[in-house]
């Protein structure tokens, strides 16, 4: 079984600080891998290594049967020979060229004939809905338009691999939302293999075939978006994606003890001896009136605060004698200090050991 892109044991150190450590991943043709993580997690460094701007200190990088990087064997393919292309956060359109010239640049370098080049430029500009702006100069375009041109420039050469470095983060929220949807369609329609760097989980969810969640220079977890969301492998993964509640637990008297004093009934099959219990905010239901448990875990608590979210309320509740803070949803505004019942189904609970 061979993959289109494969990284094994990549590592990068800057001045004694390890920025990337033991990075492994594989990517199939046509997939979009999203490198997701907080700033400083090493995702941009990894992208730059894949692009060839930086050389890895260890490990190997393969693409489509070619060996791109293997420092142990003294191999480093320069970036101009990799036939990748890149979309930058700051667009980086050449200010002295028109939109069409920017897009045509890579084709010209490849030596494509003039007529064919012109046709290809028109085609790609149409794909990003910028054909009307072909003769404009990039300086006269809005941020969103510039990023469309930048995407067209990267797609025009039909790259083996498209690299996108936080392409939407320089745009305002509304535009980001629109362009995100379009970009998803574009990636699917062109069938291009892509690696997309972002710190925004909604971008990751809507664009990724798979997400590599990065933290402190390592890949914390890699998998399909749903998989990572449903079964985070660590407390970091649980906290970074979505809103989660985490409580320390250990086995106690045939059930579970949360914190030091709160006991709940639980069937212990397959439950690790101790660790963290995780439940998503959307699975937690908060109500001032008591209801039958119906197979749910029910805990008593006191409401701290409610935040109106538009379609419902988020309630922050202090639970049990240990006073854990849990976040859940409620149908109505609950006054501060009201005793409430907190319920969540057993299926929604996930156990973490890290």
């Amino acid at each position: 079984m061979s993959y289109f892109l494969e990284a094994r044991g990549l590592r990068k150190t800057f001045d004694g600080t390890t920025v990337l450590d033991d990075i492994d991943f594989r990517l199939e043709r046509g997939e979009c891998l999203v490198l997701l993580g907080p700033s400083g997690c090493g995702k941009t460094t990894l992208l730059n290594i894949i692009a060839g701007m930086l050389a890895t200190d260890a490990g190997e990088l393969h693409c489509d049967g070619d060996l791109l990087d293997a420092p142990a064997r003294g191999l480093h393919q320069p970036m101009r020979e990799r036939r990748f292309s890149m979309v930058f956060q700051d667009f980086s359109l050449w200010p002295h060229m028109s939109v069409a010239d920017n897009v045509a640049f890579g084709l010209k370098v490849q030596g494509m004939a003039r007529a064919e080049r012109r046709r290809r430029v028109a085609e790609v500009l149409r794909q990003v809905q910028m054909e009307a702006f072909a003769d404009r100069s990039p300086g006269n375009l809005s941020g969103g338009q510039q990023q469309r041109v930048s995407i067209a420039r990267a797609l025009a050469v039909r790259p083996r691999l498209l690299l996108l470095d936080e392409p939407l983060s320089a745009l305002d929220a509304r535009l980001r939302e629109d362009l995100k949807v379009e970009l998803g369609t574009l990636l699917r329609d062109t069938g291009v293999t892509a690696i997309y760097v972002t710190h925004d989980q909604s971008e990751a969810f809507s664009l990724a075939s798979r997400i590599a969640l990065m933290y402190q220079g390592r890949i914390e977890q890699i998998g399909a978006p749903e998989e990572i969301y449903r079964a985070p492998a660590s407390a970091f993964a649980a906290g970074f994606l979505g809103v989660s509640n985490l409580m320390p637990y250990r086995r106690h008297n045939g059930g579970l003890r949360l914190g030091e004093r709160t006991d709940i009934h639980w069937r212990l099959n397959g439950v690790p001896d101790e660790g963290q219990l995780m439940v998503r905010r959307e699975s937690v239901w908060v109500s001032p009136s008591e209801a039958p448990a119906n197979g749910c875990i029910a805990l008593a608590g006191v409401c701290h605060r409610t935040n109106f979210l538009g379609d419902r309320h988020e309630a922050v509740v202090s639970v049990g004698e240990d006073g854990f803070t849990l976040r859940g949803f409620s149908d109505e505004r609950v006054p501060e200090g009201t005793p409430v019942q907190v319920r969540f189904p057993a299926e929604a609970v996930h156990f973490l050991q890290r």
Binding site: R82, V109, V157
Partner: protein
């Protein structure tokens, strides 16, 4: 009826009052700059106009067109300024690249080595080079005989070009460095990722983005060379290379005085300067690089061999542009006897200059108080005019803006000649011509541009709301200017004061044309002593002047920290 009239009158008074500062500024600059230049131009067209007659329309221009020598002179001047620009590019562009884009060790020293020739007045460098290259000069006595071929080459078109280029390539280097280090490396990365080779990236991406800086700095060098008086007067005359500024000077000062020819050549010189300025602006628009936000530039590591080569290049330029002229200058100022080998050293020439009541000390004193007064007046008037200009609008403002840019382009010799004509005219009743006050006026008119430029850029960056905030609280126009605007302008004005002081201390052409007989500034003192053969005293004064400017510069820099 009367009430309505009173209201109308008060309304128009208020409108006038609001525009008063602008009108005052237009009037002041109009008299200072516009009027002399208008007289100069009219005089060139109607040679007899100062005598009240319109006879001889365009005579002078006709004479220029019919005299082959004149056409050669004009062609020489343009070719020489062009050659100087090209040589300054050849020297400056590689320096700028090395400073901006490589890991050259000792960049701070390299940058300092560029500043020395910029700070050295070109005529002093030219004088020093004459001391080195002339028969019996340092080249002969210390190095042991220069080849005649080299001497002949130096005292020719290309030698004069080399001296001028050496004193101006620093502008090119600094401009290229600033631009190259601001072109984000992403621009190059994007091209390389798309498969472009180093050469393609350089040609298609870097070069077009660099061209505006190359042209702008080239324009500066060209204008400086075209209008420079010192180098043509000192070196051009010794190299059988007549150049426009020097020729205009001789037409005005040597018998027979030919004002018509002088003013028409001056007008042509202005025309070339203006043409160059607007031509290059047009060119910059055509080549336009477009706007971009400067970013981190990529740095190319140099191999050991390349480092040596780079430093050999920069070092050679430093030796030629600074070490050789300064060594010649200082050595001459200390030399007691001239002969073969190392001269006997003495401080006698410095003692001469600093002897109480000597001409040297008088010249130094005159220069000092003139420069301090001129610099102070320049920032006071320039700061206010810039403020009015930035905050006003309409035709009067555009007119003011045009007037204010004029001295930036008009060669100093032309301005000096124009001022002579304007204040020596029969209808002028004030006895200012042939006094030191005339020179003070000339300094202010010529050098007010620095104060205007520095203040302009600060003021444009300053929000008008700062003033509105004060106005809302009831502050008067005067209070707003002194309490809000001036404090913000202070750093710019200080920098302008410093620049103006330094350039006034070394000012040659206006001084030599406008000083009353028997009075000297440091520059005219150096120039005259040199021409009269008293080389050591001339060079002692040059050393003192440069040291004085440097001390002031260093003091200012230290205080700002």
């Amino acid at each position: 009826m009367n009430a309505a009239l009173a209201i109308a009158r008060s309304r128009s008074w208020r409108a006038l009052n609001a525009r008063l500062p602008l009108l005052l500024c237009v009037l002041a600059l109009g008299i200072a700059t516009g009027y002399p230049l208008a007289i100069l131009f009219l005089q060139s067209v109607f040679p007899q106009i100062l005598g009240g007659s319109l006879e001889g329309f365009l005579d002078a221009y006709r004479r220029i067109g019919e005299t082959p020598d004149m056409l050669v002179l004009i062609r020489n001047s343009l070719a020489w300024a062009g050659a100087t620009t090209v040589v300054a590019w050849l020297f400056g562009i590689p320096c700028g690249y090395l400073l901006a884009r490589t890991n050259l060790p000792g960049k701070l020293w390299a940058r300092l080595s560029l500043l020395v020739p910029i700070m050295t007045p070109p005529y002093i460098a030219a004088l020093s080079y004459i001391l080195v290259m002339q028969a019996g000069g340092f080249g002969d006595t210390l190095v042991g005989g220069l080849p005649e071929g080299l001497r002949a080459w130096f005292f020719s078109f290309w030698g004069v070009t080399l001296v001028m280029a050496l004193s101006s390539f620093g502008y090119v280097a600094l401009a290229v460095e600033a631009t190259l280090s601001g072109i984000p490396r992403r621009f190059e990365d994007a091209a390389t990722l798309l498969g472009a080779s180093w050469g393609q990236t350089a040609r298609r991406i870097l070069l077009p983005l660099l061209l505006p800086a190359v042209f702008n700095s080239g324009l500066l060098v060209f204008l400086e060379a075209l209008s420079n008086f010192g180098v043509p007067a000192v070196l051009g005359t010794r190299s059988n290379l007549p150049l426009l500024p020097a020729e205009i000077f001789y037409l005005v000062t040597s018998w027979p005085v030919d004002l018509a020819l002088a003013t028409s050549l001056s007008s042509l010189l202005c025309l070339f300067a203006l043409f160059t300025l607007y031509g290059s602006r047009w060119l910059a628009g055509v080549l336009g690089a477009g706007e971009y936000r400067p970013g981190q530039a990529s740095i190319t590591p140099l191999s050991v061999g390349q480092r040596w080569l780079a430093w050999a290049f920069i070092g050679t330029l430093f030796v030629l542009s600074s070490v050789v002229p300064y060594a010649a200058m200082v050595l001459t100022s200390l030399a007691q006897t001239w002969g073969v080998g190392w001269p006997t050293l003495t401080l006698a020439h410095y003692t001469d200059i600093f002897t109480f009541g000597s001409r040297g000390l008088q010249a130094l004193w005159t220069s000092l108080w003139l420069s301090i007064t001129a610099a102070t007046l320049c920032i006071a008037i320039g700061g206010y005019i810039a403020y009015v200009n930035v905050r006003a609008s309409g035709w009067a403002q555009r007119f003011l803006d045009g007037l204010a840019t004029l001295p930036r382009v008009i060669p100093k010799i032309v301005m000096a000649v124009a001022l002579i004509l304007a204040w020596n005219a029969p209808w002028v009743r004030i006895d200012i011509y042939n006094t030191v006050a005339m020179l003070l006026l000339a300094y202010v008119v010529i050098y007010i541009t620095d104060a205007l430029n520095y203040s302009n850029s600060t003021l444009r960056a300053m929000s008008v709301n700062l003033e509105n905030a004060a106005a809302v609280l009831g502050a008067s126009r005067f209070t707003i200017f002194t309490r809000v605007v001036l404090p913000r302008l202070k750093p710019a004005l200080l920098a302008a004061w410093l620049t103006t002081f330094i350039v006034c201390m070394r000012e040659l052409v206006a001084s030599i044309l406008l000083l009353p007989p028997g009075t000297d500034t440091t520059a005219t003192f150096i120039f005259n002593q040199f021409e009269q053969g008293d080389l050591s005293v001339a060079m002692a004064m040059a050393t003192v002047t440069i040291m004085l400017s440097t001390i002031v510069l260093v003091l200012f820099t230290l205080r700002r920290r």
